[in-house]
């Protein structure tokens, strides 16, 4: 079996990418991840549980995130998640891909505000 490189996961689904972004600051859990995503993109469509956790489940099975131990005093029923080194590398690769894409759009004057 060949080992997958970060680039094999690209392009990422926007929601999966946002989940990874929400976890860059450290371990987190469902409701807090959603808060983080909605804070960063307040105009986005509201997130519902099954869609969010299906994405998280896929990220878990791809080895991009993993379960983290619950912090002291936290509700033990919550599942805490954190980024794996692969997950961090994939997030970086996706960010770079998007940056390149935006750069390309800029060169085509797509981001200049027309009067």
């Amino acid at each position: 079996m060949t080992r997958r490189t970060p680039h094999d996961h690209l392009p990422m689904h926007p929601l999966s990418f946002r989940i990874l972004l929400a976890l860059t600051a450290g371990p987190s859990y469902g409701t807090r991840i959603v808060e983080e995503i909605e804070r960063a993109a307040p105009d986005g469509r509201p997130l519902y549980p099954a869609n969010l956790f299906r994405r998280i489940r896929d990220l878990l099975s791809d080895g991009l995130v993993e379960e983290a131990p619950s912090p002291e005093g936290a509700d033990p029923r919550r599942t805490y998640l954190c980024l794996t080194p692969t997950g961090r590398a994939v997030a970086r690769a996706e960010a770079r891909r998007l940056r390149d894409l935006v750069g390309e759009a800029e060169r085509h004057d797509l981001l200049v505000d027309t009067p």
Binding site: P46, A50, L52
Partner: protein, 882 residues
């Protein structure tokens, strides 16, 4: 901490749809996230939206994950291959395929059309802020302005309150003179609704003080039709007479839809009056209703708990106006519920009936597909032998039913469009929200859901059944596999269920038909054919004196009466057949008001010319009143039979007197008794009524409807132009409006019932037809399979009649069982129709018996025909072929 939102237990239970690992790992977090979302919702509507989205999300994702994990999730290429096989399979039996598509198309189309009505009418979207927080306060009674002000100060659960009163105003100087529906409201009315004008401003505090309110806000529709959407209309002074003013300054224009809140207003004007007036001294008893906004955090239940104390306080202050029972029955009703109250139950009953029709259709298709899968036994066995797994077979067959359902759904959507167009024509124009009925996104979503459900329901049984086919049965060389009796049993069970459902639908339409029949047999009390009604009310400013106004009417009547096609002329201030009413506290001579009861309130009508003769109202005794009865002659009146029954039972009413407003008021001597008229619709019992001459009223002005009876054979519409000419030759500033056939007005009250009866009868017939088709199809299939047995029996000398009897007995058994179960279910469910039926018991034995007989007969016929055909087999041919 606030309590967790309701219903999370259900969500937790539904999480079982997800794969186990996901549920175990994230179940708690998912529920917590939903709870969080629901806690953020401020209104019931928002909560409902979140629930709908969360359940759809759960359903979609669980199906998706389950598919990915099973063999059912096809690789794209395999899916294409299966799709091609499915299409080929369906083409191979075009009859079954076409019948299935049409059946599902009818079911989906009819249900989508009715759903569009339910959606538009029951979830009407009002262009106001949080419409679900708008309520009517004690809508059961009329009141005055002081009552509205008291509600605001007494009930902490209400934020703003406005009295509502509908008036007819006259607009002149803007093209033809016209009558305008004006709504008198508090200055805070638009703030209460949470709407902003698109032009100008709303009312200001103080504009409701006596004489201060010479301003008007236009509705969007009126701004467009009367002022050509003039952007400079604000600031103009228009001649709009009525409600204490002759002209008013236009101060604003509202966005479209605000007028739908109450009485379809053309314009809004301030409800003037002294704000300091007490309950008893405030004379504004024309305030028909009170609208309010619930205070932040207050619930409808809390407002309802407060309203009784409020009503009790008013009753104590005005014991002659309101009874203790009135006060105890006081409620606060949500605006949306109050506006749709009359149609809610009928629509839900119809929606229920049409969903059952859809289910009956699905059962038919399931039966057709079951029978077809049986014929395809060999094909499936070959597939099994070639290594097709059970999941693959289920997928293939489900795909077939999905293709059928998709075609049926597409047909259904087209059909729904046509049906909605038909509904628009059939529905009475005053059916609330009917204008908004359309095949929109929500209706398409319903059609899609119905289609998906139909595909699953009709495909699952055949798919599961056929997937049990074993390769081994191929080796046995016969197409008659071991599962064939199971198929027979399954179809019989389905037929029984179908008959049961058809009983429920047919019964609902039977009860509705019976109720409609009862309604139509009620004598409305008058003969409205050949009568034209119109309004021609002069401007009060131009006719300040009541005598001048009456002289105008006299001139119109005389000129109109001289037309050769006119037989008689009458006038009444409130047209029968409408919801308009005036009723006053009345004191009949010698009638003692029971202790603790309020003064009786009696319907009041002012009439002129030959009103009773013109509308064919029967005179029971004495004489009628008319133009000869004037201020300088004796005050006289006519009462109806209900009046005599209630106040002077057994006594001769002629010669007795009555007074209105106070026992010491002017006494009117009763000179005649007339028959009861169902003023507000056949379904409402006549109330005590009194009629006075227009010339003997206690006040100067009252708007009149003029009525002209034309000679039989003349179309009433033909005298319309002559009416206008006559009125305008006397005074060109008088608006001639609402020229109506009285028969249409009187018939209007039954149009709602006619509409719903037509809908339910249509669905009843559809259910019956589909059911007959189902029984026929299954009997044909079952008897066809017994052809060999029949052949042997014929060969052994059995008569054809005997064979038919045995075949019919077996085919009819599930029909009989379904009939019995259906009657029981219908009896249990018929209670919901209680509020819809007129003088028909929901358990009406005659209707139950007729429906049982009808369905029994249809079931029997549908069983006899194929059985007779199958029994005519040639034993040699049948035995030889097997």
């Amino acid at each position: 901490m606030s309590a967790p939102p309701k219903g999370l237990g259900l969500y937790r239970a539904l999480l079982r749809l997800l794969p186990g690992d996901m549920r175990r790992r994230f179940g708690h977090d998912m529920t917590a996230l939903l709870a969080d979302r629901l806690a953020q919702a401020a209104t019931t509507r928002q909560r409902a939206r979140i629930w709908a989205a969360a359940l759809a999300d759960l359903l979609v994702q669980s199906v998706r994950m389950r598919l990915v994990e099973s063999e059912l999730a096809p690789a794209p290429s395999a899916l294409l291959i299966d799709l091609r096989h499915a299409a080929a399979g369906l083409r191979a039996s075009p009859g079954v395929t076409a019948a299935s598509i049409v059946t599902l198309g009818i079911g989906v189309g009819a249900s989508a059309a009715v759903f569009s009505v339910a959606d538009a009418v029951l979830r009407a979207d009002y262009p106001v802020e949080e419409p679900e927080r708008l309520v009517f306060v004690w809508p059961e009674v009329n009141g005055n302005k002081a009552m509205a002000l008291l509600a605001e100060s007494e009930m902490s659960t209400l934020q703003l309150v406005s009295g509502l009163s509908a008036w007819t105003l006259t607009l002149t100087g803007e093209g033809e003179p016209r009558e305008v529906t004006g709504l008198l409201v508090a200055p805070e009315y638009f703030e209460l609704l949470g709407v902003r004008p698109i032009l100008g401003r709303g009312f200001r505090a103080g504009e409701d003080l006596p004489g201060a309110g010479a301003v008007v806000v236009l509705s969007h529709g009126f701004w467009v039709t009367a002022f050509g959407a003039d952007p400079d209309v604000v600031g103009r002074v228009i001649r709009l007479s009525g409600a204490e003013h002759e002209s008013r300054e236009v101060i604003g224009v509202m966005p479209p839809g605000v007028e739908r809140i109450w009485q379809d207003a053309d314009v809004w004007v301030p409800l003037e009056g002294d704000r300091a007036a007490g309950l008893a001294d405030d004379n504004s008893w024309y305030v028909n209703d009170r609208i309010a906004r619930l205070a932040p955090g207050a619930s409808l239940e809390e407002a309802n708990a407060q309203v009784r104390a409020y009503a009790a306080r008013i009753q104590t202050a005005l014991p002659r106006t309101f009874s203790v029972e009135d006060a105890e029955a006081a409620t606060v009703r949500r605006m949306s519920d109050a506006l749709t109250a009359s149609v809610r139950t009928p629509i839900l009953v119809t929606l229920g009936a049409v969903v059952l029709v859809l289910v009956i259709g699905c059962v038919n298709v399931a039966n057709l597909l079951l029978a077809r899968s049986d014929r395809r036994h060999r094909d499936l066995a070959v597939r099994a032998a070639l290594g097709a797994g059970r999941a693959r077979m289920v997928r293939l067959l489900l795909l077939e039913s999905t293709v059928v359902a998709a075609c049926g759904g597409a047909l259904g959507i087209v059909l729904a469009g046509a049906l909605v167009a038909g509904l628009h024509r059939l529905a009475p124009p005053d059916f609330p929200g009917i204008d908004a009925v359309a095949v929109d996104g929500t209706v398409l979503a319903w059609a899609l859901l119905a289609t998906a459900a139909a595909g699953l329901v009709s495909g699952l049984a055949p798919a599961v059944r056929a997937s049990a086919v074993r390769a081994l049965s191929l080796v046995s060389g016969s197409t008659r596999g071991s599962g064939r009796n199971t198929i027979g049993r399954l179809t019989t069970v389905l037929v029984g269920g179908q008959v049961g459902l058809a009983v429920v639908v047919t019964l609902a339409s039977g009860l509705m038909l019976r109720s409609f029949d009862r309604l139509m047999s009620v004598d409305p009390g008058l003969d409205a054919t050949d009568v034209l009604a119109f309004k021609a009310n002069p401007n009060q400013g131009d006719y300040p004196d009541g005598e001048a106004e009456r002289a105008f009417f006299r001139a119109v009547s005389e000129r109109l009466g001289s037309l050769p096609s006119v037989e008689s002329i009458g006038g009444i201030h409130l047209l029968p057949g409408t919801r308009d009413n005036w009723s006053f506290p009345t004191f009949p001579e010698g009638f003692a008001v029971p202790e603790g009861a309020p003064t009786p309130s009696v319907n009041f009508r002012a009439v002129r010319d030959d009103y009773f003769e013109t509308v064919g109202l029967r005179v029971v005794s004495g004489r009628t009143v008319g133009n000869a009865d004037q201020q300088d002659t004796e005050s006289v009146g006519v009462v109806n039979e209900a009046f005599v029954r209630d106040f002077w039972p057994g006594a001769d009413p002629l010669g007795r007197t009555l007074s209105i407003f106070s026992p010491s008021g002017r006494a009117y001597r009763v000179v005649g008794v007339v028959a009861d008229v169902h003023q507000h619709g056949r379904e409402l019992a006549p109330r005590p009524e009194m009629y006075f001459s227009h010339g003997q009223l206690l006040w100067d002005h009252v708007g009149m409807w003029l009525l002209a009876r034309v000679r039989p054979g003349t179309d009433v519409a033909t005298i319309g132009p002559a009416v206008r000419d006559i009125v305008w030759s006397i005074d060109p500033d008088v608006p001639v409006s609402e020229m109506l056939r009285l028969a249409d007005v009187v018939g209007q009250s039954t149009r709602g019932a006619r509409f719903l009866t037509a809908l339910l009868t249509g669905f009843g017939a559809l259910a019956l037809g589909l059911c007959a088709l189902g029984v026929f199809g299954v009997t044909a299939y079952v008897t066809g399979r017994r052809a060999g047995e029949f052949g042997v029996r014929v060969a052994l000398g059995s008569s054809r009649a005997r064979i038919v009897r045995s075949a019919v007995a077996r085919a009819f058994a599930p029909v009989a069982v379904g009939l019995g179960l259906g009657l029981v279910a219908a009896r249990l469910a018929s209670g919901v129709m209680d509020g819809v039926l007129y003088e028909v018991d929901p358990a009406d034995p005659a209707t139950f018996a007729s429906v049982a007989l009808l369905l029994g007969a249809v079931g029997l016929l549908a069983a006899v025909v194929p059985a007779w055909r199958a029994s005519g087999v040639d034993p040699v041919r049948v035995l030889g072929s097997d």
